[in-house]
């Protein structure tokens, strides 16, 4: 039972940064924009949130700072990709490199001391329930926020007019422009939202998940989040399930190392990356399924004709 609780809660926690980052990217991609720079935005968010905590700011402020750092970074990408119409692959890569540099630069004075991590919630009665308490009611607030974001984004995309506008811009910005929607402005908002979420994901890593600063601490999670969006075939529920799958993989790998399995630790560490490749292959083979929810204008620069 103990082990099950540890694995279950560990999975949920490990999935949380992926949920933030991948849901954010889902919204960006649904608008027809591909931002490859998640890794960079997450690192900036992680660095800034960590800095805010060490500088004595409260946890909520630190997390907000992380989110805003991600958004600010995404704005760089937005200007290049949306206003300057550059190749979105290149602009995203530039952001990934830039973010890792800036975060390393900021982080040079952070030292290697851990900070006090974000606390779990304490709900009277519920948190003290046997089994259910530790299983469901003792997570830190950001875990619940991630789930809330999932509900909110699903509702937004499929139940509101704004969500419909966003999705249809992703299919054809030309048509959206023709019927009078401000395509560029809406795409900017999507990109900023994606940055905010990536920043939040980074902040979660540095102040809750491993309350430590390590250079390049995201270790590819930003790229895995990108893969998750493809894996999810651009559907929010599948993003959630995919993130849990990867969270579970991470935890099994850690548990495996803790149990002293007779395999090299590097092999276990490589599992999430291998798994990413495997799921990508499985999902990509079915072109029809990919096409069904695929934002048709993805990564194609759009300039409204005058």
């Amino acid at each position: 039972m103990e082990l099950f609780i540890a694995i279950f809660t560990g999975t949920i926690i490990a999935a949380t940064p992926l949920i933030f980052a991948a849901l954010g990217e889902l919204v960006v991609e649904k608008s027809g924009v591909l931002n490859l720079g998640i890794e960079g935005m997450m690192l900036m968010g992680a660095a800034l949130a960590f800095w805010a905590v060490t500088a004595g700011y409260s946890m909520p402020v630190a997390i907000l700072a992380g989110a805003l750092a991600g958004a600010a970074a995404s704005l760089l990408f937005g200007v290049l990709a949306l206003t300057f119409l550059t190749n979105q692959y290149a602009a995203g890569l530039a952001l990934a490199i830039f973010g890792s540099g800036v975060s390393a630069f900021l982080g040079r004075g952070f030292g290697s001391e851990p900070i006090e991590a974000l606390h779990g919630v304490r709900i009277p009665v519920l948190s003290d329930l046997p089994v259910l308490g530790p299983l469901i009611f003792r997570f830190d607030p950001l875990v619940y926020l991630a789930l809330l974001m999932f509900v909110a984004i699903s509702w937004f995309l499929y139940r509101t007019k704004a969500g419909l506008i966003l999705r249809t811009i992703g299919e054809s910005p030309q048509t959206s422009h023709a019927i009078g929607y401000p395509v560029i402005r809406i795409r900017y908002m999507a990109v900023l939202f994606g940055g905010l979420m990536a920043g939040l994901a980074g902040a979660y890593l540095s102040v809750a998940y491993t309350p430590l600063w390590v250079e390049n601490m995201t270790a590819g999670k930003g790229w895995i989040a990108l893969a998750l969006v493809v894996f999810a075939t651009w559907q929010p529920l599948r993003v959630l399930l995919g993130a849990w799958l990867f969270g579970g993989m991470t935890i099994l790998q850690l548990q495996g190392q803790a149990l002293g399995l007779q395999v090299p630790s590097e092999l276990l560490s490589a599992l999430p990356y291998l798994a990413t490749i495997v799921v990508l292959v499985l999902i990509s083979r079915n072109r029809q399924m990919l096409a069904l929810h695929f934002p048709a204008s993805l990564a194609k620069p759009f300039r409204p004709a005058s």
């Binding site: 007019k161 419909l164 999705r167 249809t168 299919e171 048509t175 009078g180 029809q288 096409a291 048709a296």
Partner: protein, 513 residues
């Protein structure tokens, strides 16, 4: 009476072209007003200016007597101006009602909007199911969606841009009924077209454009076709010379029982297609777009391959499983409907684009591109086909649509093909170039080449083809000899009406009546 819309001295120029030059016109309430002109005369630009999708460089627009300053489509809609685009502004991935909700100003309430759509579409005799996904709709049905979308706003002025180019003759009759009903209710209609007979049948007045200028206004019902045509194209009316065909004994292209599933849910399945094209004749394929033409042409060109090799034979060789370059070795040449991005690489120069299909004609040697020969080859095409371009170093995207089409047609003909496939030979090409391209195709066939033409313009097919096929819902009719058929028969076949045993064929096609 206060005019519904008045344009005064509108001018608009784009780099290199004057799209509109000092255009003025007046439209009364309840009037059906044609804007008539050849492709490239500036009709579409003018409509975009009225609708606010483009801004005039100079001139004034008055609506119900009020000056409209710089405006945009949203503002136009609030003034009661609605527009049905030639290429529809619909999103494939969402439903009819969601599409309409996107441009409706009302609260976001899909069930009540769906009910309204159902009612309105029935009232104007063009029923649509609001919950269907747009990608499942035929072109005709999509046009209904567009029109219903406009009607929901109770427009005072409705603009239609070439609305019949995608419709069967029968569907056109139906559409005209709806438009007359609207006009009788007081809505003004601007009807953009280059088809004289339609304008004469439907419109009260016409403004004729040529090269961006107004060349005349007329009451089409009281004016002869010849006079209208003179205003449209000037004094020179191109003439075609089509001598009788002398088909070869053996077919050059044989298609036998070709069936193929659509590659995605936007496509159409082909069912049991069979026909022949002989050397020296032109066979045309008529049909409303989206009935399988794209699939058939991709299978013929080799852009899509088929497992059953002998379903397509070129000069007797089983070719259905071959790649495009392998089929070209058998004598195939192909002019696709998209010029930029398929028939030519937009950012590449003309000499580079010559190499695209002419690489077996001396422009590539020992694995290296011979730039001098490629340039000479391109120059040859430019001279022979009178392509207006800055020499072989001009990029494909710098050419006008008509000139690029002449270049691509010229390139394919320079390959001395035994079989030429042409899809939409004169789409968006001005009248002079169209006539030239058609004549070139006819001349090529009379010199012995087998030609297969896919076109949505019946006029064009009747002008150049010796035999006609009709495609509907992925099925191809038996061949009809051009001289012994007429538009009525072709039109019926386009709706799938007389296509043999399977009578369900007509149910969801285009605009059935």
């Amino acid at each position: 009476m206060q005019p519904r819309l008045e344009l005064r001295n509108i001018s608009k120029r784009y780099p290199g072209v004057v799209a509109n030059d000092d255009v003025s016109l007046t439209i009364q309430p309840g009037e059906i007003h044609a804007v008539l002109g050849e492709n490239g005369a500036g009709k579409s630009t003018l409509m975009k200016i009225i609708y606010g999708a483009a801004q005039a460089d100079s001139g004034e627009i008055y609506c119900d007597g009020n000056l409209i300053a710089a405006h945009n489509p949203a503002m136009s809609r609030s003034l009661g101006i609605e527009m049905v685009y030639q290429h529809f502004a619909l999103f494939e991935s969402v439903s009819v009602v969601e599409n309409i909700a996107l441009s409706a100003s009302s609260a976001f309430n899909l069930p009540s909007l769906a009910e309204k759509i159902r009612e309105l579409s029935l009232r104007y005799g063009m029923p649509i199911d609001p919950h269907r996904q747009v990608h499942d709709l035929s072109v005709g049905e999509r046009q209904r969606v567009e029109i219903v979308r406009c009607l929901l706003q109770a427009p005072k002025l409705l603009i239609l841009d070439e609305p019949t180019s995608v419709l069967t003759p029968q569907a056109v009759v139906k559409l005209f009924g709806t438009l007359r009903q609207l006009a009788a209710e007081g809505c003004s209609i601007v009807y953009i077209s280059h088809k004289l007979d339609e304008v004469q049948e439907l419109c009260d007045t016409a403004t004729v454009l040529r090269n961006g200028k107004v060349t005349g206004t007329a009451r089409p019902k009281e004016t002869t076709s010849l006079e209208l045509a003179r205003m449209m194209v000037g004094s020179r009316l191109p003439e075609m010379h089509v001598s009788p065909a002398a088909p070869s004994e053996k077919p050059v292209l044989e298609v036998r029982n070709l069936s193929a599933k659509a590659r995605d849910h936007f496509g159409v399945d082909l069912e049991d297609v069979s026909f022949n094209v002989h050397g020296g004749e032109i066979v045309g394929l008529a049909g409303v777009s989206g009935n399988g033409q794209a699939e058939l042409i991709a299978l013929l060109s080799g852009e899509r391959r088929h497992a059953q090799g002998d379903a397509i034979k070129i000069n007797g060789t089983a070719a259905a499983a071959l790649r495009p370059d392998e089929r070209r070795r058998l004598g195939l040449a192909f002019v696709p409907e998209e010029r930029l991005g398929r028939g030519a690489v937009p950012s590449h120069t003309l000499w580079e684009n010559a190499v695209l299909t002419a690489h077996r004609f001396g422009t590539v040697r020992n694995g290296l591109v011979d730039r001098r020969r490629a340039a000479a080859f391109a120059t040859g095409i430019i001279d022979r086909f009178k392509v207006k371009a800055n020499g072989p170093d001009a990029t494909a995207q710098s050419l006008s649509g008509g000139n690029l089409q002449k270049f691509i047609v010229g390139r394919e003909i320079a390959l001395a093909p035994k079989l030429l496939l042409v899809s939409q030979p004169t789409w968006g090409v001005d009248v002079g170039a169209s006539a030239f391209i058609r004549q070139t195709i006819v001349d090529l066939s009379r010199a012995g080449t087998a030609v297969f033409v896919v076109s949505e313009e019946l006029d064009e097919l009747f002008e150049i083809c010796d035999r006609l096929l009709v495609i509907c819902k992925g099925r191809v009719s038996p061949p009809l000899v051009r001289t012994s058929t007429d538009r009525e028969e072709i039109g019926l076949l386009m709706t799938g009406r007389t296509m043999g045993k399977d009578q369900t064929g007509g149910s969801s096609v285009a605009l059935q009546d």
